[in-house]
Every structure is written in C-alpha cells, then in structure tokens.
C-alpha cells in the first residue's frame, strides 16, 4: 500500500469523524420546528378564538354602549330641558331678589323717615307737655284771679242793689215831688221844664263793644281823676281803636277800666270806669293797661 493511500485513508478518517461530529452536534442542537409550528399553530388558533370572542364581546359592548349612549343622550336632553327650566327659575328668582332689595331699600328709607318723624313728634310732645304745664300754671293763676273778681263782683252787686233800692226810693220821692210841683205850678199856669244835667251822669257800668283778643299792652301816661280821663302810652300805630276797652292793673290787682274816646298815632285818650273806692286803688301814671286780663 502506498504512502499516499495511507495518508488519504488517515485524512479521510479524520475528515469523516470531524464532519460526523459536526453533523451530530448540529442535529442534536437543532430545534424541533414541527413542535414549534404546532405550538405556534395552536397559539394562533387560540389567538383567533380570543379575537373572535373579543370581537363578540366588543360588539356586545358596543351595542350596549350604543344603547347606553342613546339612553344618556335622552337623559342629557332631559337634563338640558331641566337646566333651561332652572335657568328660567334662576332669572325669576334674581328678579324677585332685586325687587326684594329695592323694597328693602324703600322700607329702610321709610323707616328712617319714620324715625325722624317719631323724634320730631317726641320733641313736639315734650314741647306740648311743657306748654301744657305752663298753661296749667297760668290757668291756676287765672282761676285765682277770677275767684277774686267774683268775690269783688259779689260785693259790687250788693252795693248796686243797695244803690238801686236807694235810686228807686229817690225816683218815687222825685215823682211825688214832681206831682206836688206840677200841682203847685198849675195854679200859676206854668209847667216844669225838662231837666237837663249840667254834667254827664256817671254810670256805675256801661256796656262797651266787646274787645277782640288782640292782647295790646301799655301804660297809663297821664291820669286825671277829677274828670275821670286817662291817657294811654299806645296809640293807633299799635292797633288801638276808638271804643276799645282796656283793663288797668297794678301788681296783678284790678284797678279800673279805660274806654278809648280818641286815638292818636302814639297815644290814646280814654274814659275811666269801674273806679275803686279806696285811695290806694285809684289809678295813677305807670299802671299797666291791657286788652286782656
């Protein structure tokens, strides 16, 4: 056997063992594609089934969602209608609130005016109470004076009655004397002439025109007791008129009356009446005169 044959045998053997090792290693480590294919196929089948199931579920959910959407759209429309109604109610309530605020402001204004009126009326009430107290004091004072006047009037009335009785007696005596005198003169063919008084008869009282409540006040300027004439310190410029009656007082005591006979711008002249008998109650200059007691 030649050397070359031997070398070739050895090389062939080595190469065969090497290649067989490679092939065995490759085959041993190669994947099982059939199992892999079957595994993938079953996975695909399962995936398709899952897809179909998911698709059915999705369609069901979609239908359900559409139904829910339709239902929710109806509810949304109802809620929108409700919102519109509520907006209308809000507008009405807002208007009522504004009206209530305006009424409140008006009532506050009225209340403020009412409080002012109450304060004013309270002040007027205080003033009226004060005036009432003053009037009561004045009435008490006037009542006292009227009682004094009534007592004086009673005394004067008694005097007047005595004088009337005396005058009646004198009149009867005068008539008797007149009759005797007429009989006496008739014998000589004469009659008695009508008696004319030399001076004005002083009357105990004379009715004067009622004085209006003009409340004129002044003083006696000049007093003439001999002629019963007095001059007042006020005249036509103060409102004094003819025949106006003034009352003369001194320290709240009645002295006499003065009836105006003549009026000048700054003074007046009058006739004194109701003179008192006592000397200290005779009128004198400086006594107060007024139309009202």
């Amino acid at each position: 056997m030649s050397t070359l044959t031997k070398v070739l045998i050895v090389l062939l053997t080595v190469a065969s063992i090497f290649l067989c090792g490679i092939v065995v290693t490759y085959v041993a480590s190669a994947e099982n594609y059939k199992d892999k294919w079957q595994t993938l196929q079953s996975s695909e089948r399962r995936a398709r089934q899952q897809k179909d199931q998911i698709t059915e579920e999705w369609n069901a959910e979609k239908a359900k969602m559409d139904e829910e959407r339709t239902k929710l759209n109806g509810e949304i429309a109802a809620l929108r209608d409700q919102i519109r109604g509520l907006n209308g109610q809000v507008a009405d309530i807002t208007r009522e609130r504004d009206d209530a605020r305006r009424r409140k402001e008006n009532y506050e204004t009225i209340l403020a005016d009412y409080n002012k009126t109450v304060e004013r009326n309270t002040q007027l009430q205080r003033d009226a109470q004060k005036a009432e107290a003053d009037l009561r004091a004045e009435r008490t004072k006037l009542t006292q004076r009227i009682e004094d006047y009534i007592r004086a009037l009673d005394v004067k009335s008694a005097i007047v009655m005595q004088l009337e009785a005396k005058l009646k007696g004198l009149t009867e005596e005068k008539a008797a004397l007149q009759g005797k005198m007429d009989e006496f003169l008739r014998q000589y063919g004469k009659v008695t002439a009508q008696a004319v008084p030399a001076i004005a008869i002083r009357e105990a009282a004379r009715v004067a025109p009622p004085a209006t409540d003009i409340d004129l006040k002044g003083l006696l300027a000049v007093v003439d007791l001999k002629n019963n004439i007095a001059e007042l310190s006020i005249g036509a410029a103060d409102g004094v008129e003819k025949n106006m009656r003034f009352h003369v007082t001194r320290d709240s005591k009645f002295i006499c009356d003065v009836v105006v006979l003549d009026v000048e711008p700054d003074k007046a002249l009058g006739w004194m009446e109701l003179l008192q008998d006592t000397a200290q109650d005779k009128p004198r200059a400086g006594d107060a005169v007024s139309t009202n007691l």
Binding site: T13, I17, C20, G21, V24, V27, A28, K34
Partner: protein, 52 residues
C-alpha cells in the same frame, strides 16, 4: 542480505491492517452519524425524507 541487515536498513512502518481498522472506524463513524440523523428526523418529523 541478512534479516538483521534488512531490519537495520528499512524504516519502521505500520502494518496495512491498521489502516483498514482506521478506515473501518471512519465508516462506523459515518454510519453512526447517519443513523443518529435518521433517528432524529423520525422522532421529530415522523419521517426521514418526506417533507410535509
């Protein structure tokens, strides 16, 4: 020439049976690999040559 002389003058060589054994070993290796591959193909694909 004597045998001693012949043994002294020739190179030492392996007998030819050795190469036969080596060649047989190579054949066994190839057959074993082919059998293993066939076994693997049958066990995995249930066939040896057919392509499904």
């Amino acid at each position: 020439m004597s045998p001693a002389m012949q043994s002294r003058g020739k190179k030492i060589t392996a007998p030819d049976n050795l190469y036969t054994v080596i060649l047989a070993l190579a054949l066994v290796a190839v057959l074993a690999a082919a059998g293993f591959v066939a076994y693997q193909c049958y066990t995995q694909y249930e066939t040896i040559f057919k392509i499904q």
